[in-house]
Structure formats: structure tokens, C-alpha cells
Symmetry: C2
Subunit: 231 residues, 2 copies
């Protein structure tokens, strides 16, 4: 059997959640969009393979990279039995769209434009699982900062939540909650004027890795949503 890694690379650009996709130049699924990925080398750890792919596609060192899940349904790749280990990475808005990419057809695509389906292989499902992982991890980890540059304002951090969760959050309560949560963010002392209005204090990510208590997104209508038993 063959082992590959596939990457769900997410960022926020222009107020939209975007995902890095590659336009396939060869069959199968020629011309279709796919998640970036590649083969795991013979003597390479899975995490290292994912980090290497990330470097090759974006020219970036991993900031947050975590294993998502593994997909191995027979027939998912028409060329033969391929098991893929999917990884999720969250990136700040990059200066150049895809710096240093070795894939000619790489592009950031708004998730909303892609969510309807049409990706190669089983990448629609992998992408959906990655989005859901990101959404839920914002609740109980300080991961939202991974979408931000090293120094950011509370309003920018709030924008991450609003974009990923597709909700509107009260700026004042959010400010109190985030600055009050132990180890979530640390003031740098600096300030910045992002738009009009009073300058905002700058923060960097704090040392916490878990939020107690979590920042909860509003309850999701019915309590039966989100089944995640055996796939």
C-alpha cells in the first residue's frame, strides 16, 4: 500500500476563510482542484512529511500543524490502494499568495466557493473534516492566534472567530473574556491604528494551550448535530 499526506491549509484573507488548493495537471481528476499533498518518503516520519509538503507549497515553516485523520477507503484513488494521512495547518494571511510554491496551479480559494464539492479524490470530505476541526478547536484552545500575525489586536482576533464561526460576537464581551483568560494573549505594550478610531493595544499569543473555560460558539440549534462516531 502507498502512504501519502494531504494538507488542509487554512487562512483568512479579505474576511473570508480560504483554503490552499492545487489544480491538477495530470489524470486522474485532471483539471480538478485538490488538496496539496504528496508521498511519504521511505525513511520519513508522517509529521515530517507534512511539514515538508507545507514548506514546498507555501515556503513557510509550520506554525500550527496537527494531524487530522487518515483516509483509506479502497477505491478512493483510482490508481490503486492509497492511504492518506491528512494534516491541518492554520496560517496567517501571507504577503504573497503562495510564495515558493512548487505547484504551478496553487491558489487560495474561499471555502464558501469550494464547500459545495467538486474536489478530486475524497478531498471534499477531508476539507470538511478539517474545517470542522478548526471550528471546534477555536472553542477550547487559543488556536485562533495561529491565523494572526505575531502581533495582533483583539479586534483582529475577534475577526478570526467571526469568520471561522460565521457569527457576530460582541466586541466588548469578547475583549473582556480574551484578556481575562489566563495565558491566552499577552500585551506587547505597543499599539497600532488599524483603521480609524482609537489605537488598539497589540498582543501576542500567550503560553496557554487550553482554554478553561472554553469560548463557546452559540449552541447549534438541535443537540443531534456533529455526529463523529465511526466514519
Amino acid at each position: 500500500m502507498t502512504i501519502t499526506v494531504d494538507l488542509v491549509l487554512l487562512t483568512i484573507r479579505g474576511g473570508q476563510l480560504q483554503v490552499l488548493l492545487i489544480r491538477r495537471g495530470i489524470p486522474p481528476f485532471e483539471g480538478a482542484w485538490a488538496l496539496p499533498g504528496g508521498f511519504v518518503l521511505d525513511d520519513e516520519d508522517l509529521d515530517d512529511a507534512a511539514a515538508r509538503e507545507l514548506r514546498e507549497e507555501t515556503g513557510l515553516e509550520p506554525r500550527h500543524l496537527e494531524q487530522l485523520a487518515t483516509y483509506g477507503t479502497p477505491g478512493r484513488d483510482p490508481r490503486g490502494r492509497v492511504v492518506t494521512v491528512a494534516y491541518l495547518a492554520l496560517l496567517p494571511d501571507l504577503p504573497s499568495p503562495v510564495a515558493g510554491s512548487d505547484a504551478a496551479g496553487a491558489a487560495w480559494r474561499p471555502y464558501d466557493d469550494v464547500a459545495a464539492g467538486g474536489l478530486a479524490f475524497d478531498h471534499d470530505r477531508i476539507l470538511r473534516d478539517g474545517i470542522e476541526r478548526a471550528r471546534s478547536k477555536l472553542e477550547y484552545t487559543p488556536l485562533a492566534a495561529a491565523f494572526c500575525p505575531p502581533e495582533f489586536t483583539i479586534a483582529e482576533l475577534r475577526g478570526v472567530y467571526e469568520t471561522v464561526w460565521r457569527t457576530r460576537i460582541d466586541a466588548r464581551n469578547f475583549h473582556r473574556k480574551v484578556t481575562g483568560a489566563d495565558g491566552f494573549v499577552e500585551a506587547t505594550g505597543g499599539t497600532a491604528i488599524r483603521d480609524r478610531g482609537r489605537p488598539a493595544a497589540l498582543f501576542r499569543r500567550g503560553p496557554a494551550t487550553l482554554l478553561h473555560p472554553p469560548l463557546m460558539r452559540p449552541a447549534v440549534g438541535n443537540p443531534l448535530a456533529g455526529a463523529d462516531d465511526i466514519r
Copy 2:
């Protein structure tokens, strides 16, 4: 490369969290304890392979079986490059310890006796990850019922939390919270006398798959615990 599945099978017996282990009869790690597992067949989905192993080891149909993570560090198996997809299953206390097992040396072992280490391959780490997954999923899913028989009392459900979390929970507040959470448990109408005292009402698992709000274990001292970035 070779693909295997390994199972972290957890149950609660005698007030202890226990894990199903197999004593290895052949090298490598001959004589050591290991997680049950086996090869993924050429035309078999990963989830199906895990379910098949579960049946072979316990004679049971899966009640709760979920993918845990995938481990593929070169050298983790001295025989060659083997990538293993680990699964987590939660089982009620079984009548016969390991009914229908095809592995002669299978046994339930208290997690506390095994947590110190000594398992074959990288199974110490896989087991630890499985335990942590179970602990955290009790918070925001109704999964604790997977440790119980089809009908159970609230006190038994509370015992699951107390055992897995190693905490003591106020029986009265727990009762109110669990019976009040929408879709967590449903009264069957029956009652049962488990020990001395007033008979307890029997419940079965409800339709909810997520708890809103979650049942939180007490905050874990420092906020830096629980890192789970790239491994």
C-alpha cells in the same frame, strides 16, 4: 509500506479503567504486552479493519469505535516500515473477560498498572493518547454511556466519570445536570436496586451526540497542560 490497525479498547471493571492487552508470543517484543491489532486487508476499509479486529478480539460488535490517530515513525516496528492507524473503542463491562478472543494471551489490565510503560512498539504512547481522548470526549459528548450496559442508573453513569476522570462528583448536582441535558439520557421507566437504598430509575442513552454546554472536569491546575500540537 505496511498498514495496520491497533485498538485501544477501554472498559470499566471493578471501579477501574482497564485496557485490553495481548501478550506477544513471538518476536519482536516477545513476552511483552501490546495493544490488539493486525494488518489491513488489501481491499478493506480502515474502519472495517478496526471493527473486524474488535470482533476477533472480543466477539463483540462495535458500540463506539472511532479513529484515534496514525503513527508512522520510521523504526517504530523493527521489522520494517509499518504505519498503524489507531482506533479507540469504549465497551461496557463484559460478562466473560475476553469472549471469543483469538489471541490466547488477551487480558484486561488496569490502566494504572500499565500507565508506567513497558508495552511493545510505541503502544505506550498510543494508549496514552487514547486515554486522553476518552477523558476529553466525556466532557462534550454523551460517550460515557458507551461504558455502560444498555440500561443503567445515573449513579453508574456518574461512576464512569469518576473513574475516567479520577475525580469525585457531587451525586445530586450530577443527577440534575445529566437528566436536564437535552438528549443525553432517556428514562426507560424501569427501576433497579443496585446495592442498598432506594431503587434507582433506569435510563438508556439518548439521541444527542454533543453536549451543550459540556460537562467540565475541574480546571487542570495550570493552563499550560495538554499541548497537542504537532507530535
